[in-house]
Each structure stands twice: as C-alpha cells, then as structure tokens.
Amino acid sequence: MAPQISTLRQALCTRANASRFLASPSLSRTFSCSAEEDSTPFTVDIAVPFKGHHIEPPPQVAETSPKELMSFFRDMSRMRRMEIAADQLYKSKLIRGFCHLYDGQEAVCIGMEAALTQQDNIITAYRDHCTYLGRGGTLPEVFSELMGRKDGCTLGKGGSMHFYKKENGFYGGHGIVGAQVPLGAGLAFAQKYEKVKAATFALYGDGAANQGQLFESLNIAALWDLPAVYVCENNHYGMGTAEWRAAKSPEYYKRGDYVPGLKVDGMDALAVKQAVKFAKDHAITKGPIMLEMDTYRYHGHSMSDPGSTYRTRDEISGVRQERDPIERIRKLILLKEIATVADLKNIEKEVKKEVEDAVAKAKESPQPDPSALFSNVYVKGYGSRAFGCDRKHSSAVLP
C-alpha cells in the first residue's frame, strides 16, 4: 500500500507535534499496515479524571502503541458493524426473540481485553455480543447463534443472551438481571483457590446495581479477599428508567461501601484499559474492587425499545458527536499521524465486508436438529424419560 501523505509533510508534522504529544522516541511514519505492527510505546493523557472511593486513583495516563490503537479501531469498528448488522437482521425477522445491542459501549470491552488475558474470567449479563467477540469469538459464530443456527457459539440453543466461550474465560451471557454477579464471586474464589494469578470481572448494569444478590456477593468477596472486580457498565438507563429514578445513590462506584471503587470514563478505551489494569492488580493482591464505567448505548434497551421515549434524540446524537469511542480513537490516530483518513476508511471497508461475509455464512447454517431439544438437560445418560401423548408409544430416555 503506497503512503497516502508525502514524506515531507509527515516530517514537518512529526516535528511540530513531537514535543507536545510524544514522551518517547518518534513513531515510524508509513502506511497503516505497518502502524498495525508498530509496538513502540508512548503515553497518552486520560482526559476525564478518575474518581476514587476509599482508594487513590491510578495515574491519569495510559501507555499504548500504534499497534494497539489500530487494533482498537479495527476491533471496535467490527463490533459496531456487527451490532448494526444484527439490528438489520432483527428487522428482517431473521433474528427473533430478544436482541440487546452494545453499540456505543464498545470501549468498555475493548479496554478490558487490552488489560486482561484469557486466564482472567469475564462474566456479564445479556448485552454480550461484543464481549464475546472481545473474548475471541468469531463473527459467523455470533450471527449463527443470533439466528438460532447449529454453528452458533452455543449450538443455537442459547440465542442472543447466552454466548459462552469457556476456553477463553468467558462465562456468558445471562438473562436474569444481577444473577451473574454471585457467580462471578464463585469464579474468583476458584481462581484464588487454584492459585491462578488472575481475576474475575463480573459485569452488570445500572439497573442490576439495585439487586440484593449483588451486595450479598460483594460481602462474600470482601470477607474472603477474592480476586473479584465488580464492573458496573453504567449506561444511565435501566431499560427505560433513568438512573436517578431507580437509585438513591447513582454513584455506583461508591455503592461497594467498604469495597473501594473507581469511576472511569467508559467511552475512552485507554482510560478503561488503565483502570482495568489497576483493578486487576488490586483484586489479585488485596481483594475486591468496584469499577463504574460511565458509558452510553445508542440503541434502546433491546430491539423492542425505540430508545427515544425516555431520552431525547438530542441527547443520543450529542453523545455520538462528543463521546463516541470509535471517533475518539480515530481522532487520536489521526492526531498522532499513525495512519491517514484513507487508511482508516479502508479498515472500515474491510470490516464491513468481514461482517457481510459472516452474515452470509451464518445464513447458510442449518437449524439445530430437533433432538437437540433434549440434549444437555442433564449429563448424558442421566436424564429422565419423556413420553408421547399416548404414553404407550414414543417414549425416549433423554440423552
């Protein structure tokens, strides 16, 4: 790929910007594909200050590299495209049931993945499509599962709300609000017991923050010093209820009371990365910590919710203009001249094609065999009997 801007201009810009923005040696300044491999570290200031509760916040800087920023851009664009494609599939009735889209919140899962390994566990609620991709899932698996096909990540039996990837430490994908949080405490206990130097990140929303079971598990985690990080993805609306109407204290990072907390700008992937890195260290060495990600979802709660009856369109477009996570990374990349406008457009085109191909592939996948209705109710061989209507013929032992 030929360079899109002249070398002279590049050199001038580098000199002009270097002192202001770069804290370490200059970056190599060629095409985007080499930027995607350039791991030269540099630091970036985090704009919105962290707020700590019973804890000193981490430094307001994040270390990153051109490679990381390019991967953020590519991965977040892929997630955004995926959610938009899911929206279209739902409207054409290829996806049925419930579909909760994550667009707007991509920085949270991308930032988390940048700071974690697959030895760390992530468990979340039903807005899990992007979290699944972040944990190593593939686009065809996502679309197949959404359409209830055999090649889906949960074999077509889970649907939108139940994505899992055990080998990559992704424990799902849960429908009942708040129920996944005590599970997270259990996962953390197992990690501590098995002396794995890793943490469990239990994600929940501002609506779930008022569930009793969350506080029960918080007490357990604090009492036993479990490496659990409680991450509240605060998108400010529990379905249609604004946070100030549901919670006496919408300062979710403080709700841990005796558990320290940190408030993070959830639309800034680098801030998320910094906070999650900090939280993981804290969880492993000291005990549980709570993170509040200040984020926003563009779609309604689910595809049945237009999302505009409880908030103004101005609010939504305002966030899109000022705080969009992908735009933020785009601006940073362009500012640092890591890549050009055309490079980024190319990436977006590539990602769009990827998503389209995945959708086409998923559409070809067949529905699961009807016998799958009975599989995995119990462990194979230990099931109960199922009878046909007349109780004489067609009885079967559930596999």
Binding site: H162, G207, G212, P368, V377
Partner: protein, 354 residues
C-alpha cells in the same frame, strides 16, 4: 395475521355467554370491546377508584408498563398511588407484604413471571405464612401479585415460563389464571378483594390477541370455581389460561371426529374446584389435562392424582396429560416443546379409544 383473526373468532365463539354456562354477574350490562390489556387496566382503575388505600407498583408501571396494562393510571390517581420500583423483585414483594400488613391493598407487578424467583422466598415464607404464624394477628390478604406468564412464540428461556406449579404447592396463597379479557377483569377484581394473598398470572400471549365484549362496570367472578366452558359427554378436558384457546380448537376438531368433549377452565388453581371436575369425570369417565409448564410436577399431576383418588371406579382410561416437555423452555424448539393442538387431539383420541 390469519391465525390471530381465527384465534379471536374462536375465542369469541367459545366464550360468549350464549353457550348456556353461568353468566357473568354484572349490574348495568353495558359492555365494550376490549383486549386483555384493557380489561386488566379497567379492573385496576375500578380498584383504585373504589379503594382509597390501594396502590399499584412495580417496574415501569408508571408510564403504563411494558405491556401497557397500567396505562393512564398514574395520571388518573397520582404518582403516590401508582409508582415505579427499582429493579428488585424480592424488594417489591417484601414491600408489598409490608404494605398489605398495614391494611392496604397492594397490587405488585412482577414484570415477567420468569423473574419472580428472587421473590419466591418472600411469597412462600412470608406472605403465605403470615396469618398462620401470627395466630391471625397479622395478615397480608391485601396483597395481589400480578405477573405475565406463558409462551409467545419467540420468548426463549426467560420470557416464556409458566411457574404456576411452584406456587400451587404453598398453602396460604391463592393462584388465579384467567383465560380471556372478561374473565381477567372479574377474576382480578375478586383476587384483589379476596382477603388472602393472591398470585395472578396473566397470559401474555393473549394481551392483544384476545378481544371480546367486556362489561364496563364492577363485577366479580368468584375464586375457586371452575367454569364449564363447553358441555360434552365423552371426555373431560381441563386447562387454564392461554392453553384454553388451544384446547378449544382441539375440542372443536375432536367434535368433527365424533368425540364430544367437556371443556373446563379451572380459573383458580389453588384452592381448586375439585367438585366440578369430579362431577364431570364421573359423567364422562375420561380426563385430559393440558398446560404449558413441564409435565413432571406440573399442576396437572395434582389434578390427575386427586381425580384418580375420587373417581377411580368411574375412569375408563388412564388420565392423560399433554404438557410442556421436561426441558428448560427452549429457544428455537418452541414448536416441539409446546402442547400443541395436534398433540392434544392425538391424546383425546387415544383416551377415547383406550
């Protein structure tokens, strides 16, 4: 959608008063075409108007609720009587029990029956036993819990469950399930006014689908009385809620095959009307029960056991149950899982030809 229209016609013909069963007790006799949502809304309005110490609360009820059952109530009666709660089922029911214990009429909404389990402890251990354990000093009879239940075609694991059987196992509460708009209004009014805590399951599939003439005034359908929806001679068919529409279709088709079915709507599951079902089975000699909930341990098992006990010598065939399968409520396999009209028809024929 042709199916919906057919369903509405079927419901209309099955449930209109001209079939000779017990008429609804109304005074003015003025009726209006309403769907299930409007019928429930009408009942709630009557309660809020007539009882100054009544309250309706739950997640999102203030703007009308996710199914619009509480539309307009907050505007009419004020935000201190129709209000939203945070997302905490256990809290909602516990709060409702307390409110009822102080002599108020508390109508709590649990947004989907699938979410009722955090509140299960409160219902079973607190609400059901309050009067008993306090020697009648206290009670929470003013509590009614309303919740939509049942399959809709695409609800999946957590928007389709029928948990009525869990609650039928608890002495001290009542479980009521209407089959259509006019029953819903009358049964809800009775449930709210019944001096015992009631769990009222609303068939969400019928919220908009079922439309019929519903009396506009205040009326009651008594609890613990099953209704014989259709008289017959060959087999007794028992069901409740949304399943009644399916049973009705199956019975019509069975009639074409020469089998006369007596269709009974249980309406109240506990305490249930054993006498009506018993009288019917003694006449027909055959019983079929159908519900969406999984077959093992479903409420059909209780009916089957009781009837066998009472009518053993009258039975010509084993009691038949056509229910959901013993699996979690599936996602894409819903048509296989559900007790469909064909499964019921097959079972009716098997029973009659036993």
């Amino acid at each position: 959608m042709p199916f919906a229209k057919h369903l509405c016609r079927t419901l209309k013909s099955a449930f209109c008063v001209g079939h000779g069963q017990r008429a609804l007790t109304t005074q003015a006799g003025k009726a209006k075409r309403m769907n299930l949502v409007s019928a429930i809304n009408s009942a709630l309005q009557i309660v809020l108007e007539s009882d100054p110490r009544s309250y309706v609360f739950g997640e999102d009820v203030s703007f009308g609720g996710v199914f619009r059952c509480t539309t307009g109530l907050a505007d009419m009666f004020g935000k201190h009587r129709v209000f939203n709660t945070p997302l905490c089922e256990q809290g909602i029911v516990g709060f409702g029990i307390g409110l009822a214990a102080m002599g108020n009429t508390a109508i709590a909404e649990i947004q989907f029956a699938d979410y009722i389990y955090p509140a299960f402890d409160q219902i079973v251990n607190e609400a059901a036993k309050f009067r008993y354990r306090s020697g009648n000093q206290f009670n929470c009879g003013g509590l009614t819990i309303r919740t939509p239940y049942g399959a809709v075609g695409h609800g999946g694991h957590y928007h389709s469950q029928s948990p009525e059987a869990f609650f039928c196992h608890v002495p001290g509460i009542k479980v009521v399930i209407p089959r259509g708009p006019s029953q819903a209004k009358g049964l809800l009014l009775s449930s709210v006014r019944d001096p015992n805590p009631v769990v009222f399951f609303e068939p969400k599939w019928l919220y908009r689908q079922a439309v019929e003439d519903v009396p506009e005034d205040d009326y009651a359908i008594p609890l613990s009385r099953a209704e014989v929806v259709q008289r017959g001679t060959d087999i007794t068919v028992v069901g409740w809620g949304a399943q009644m529409a399916i049973l009705d279709q199956a019975c019509s088709e069975a009639l074409q095959a020469g089998i006369s079915c007596e269709l009974i709507d249980l309406q109240t599951l506990i305490p249930w009307d054993k006498e009506t079902v018993e009288a019917s089975v003694k006449k027909t000699g055959r019983l079929l029960i159908s519900h969406e909930a999984p077959i093992t341990g479903g409420f059909g098992a209780e009916i089957a056991a009781s009837i066998v006990e009472r009518c053993f010598l009258h039975l010509e065939a084993p009691v038949s149950r056509v229910c959901g399968l013993d699996t979690p409520f599936p996602l894409v396999f819903e048509p296989h899982y559900m007790p469909t009209k064909n499964k019921i028809l097959e079972a009716i024929k098997a029973s009659v030809h036993f």
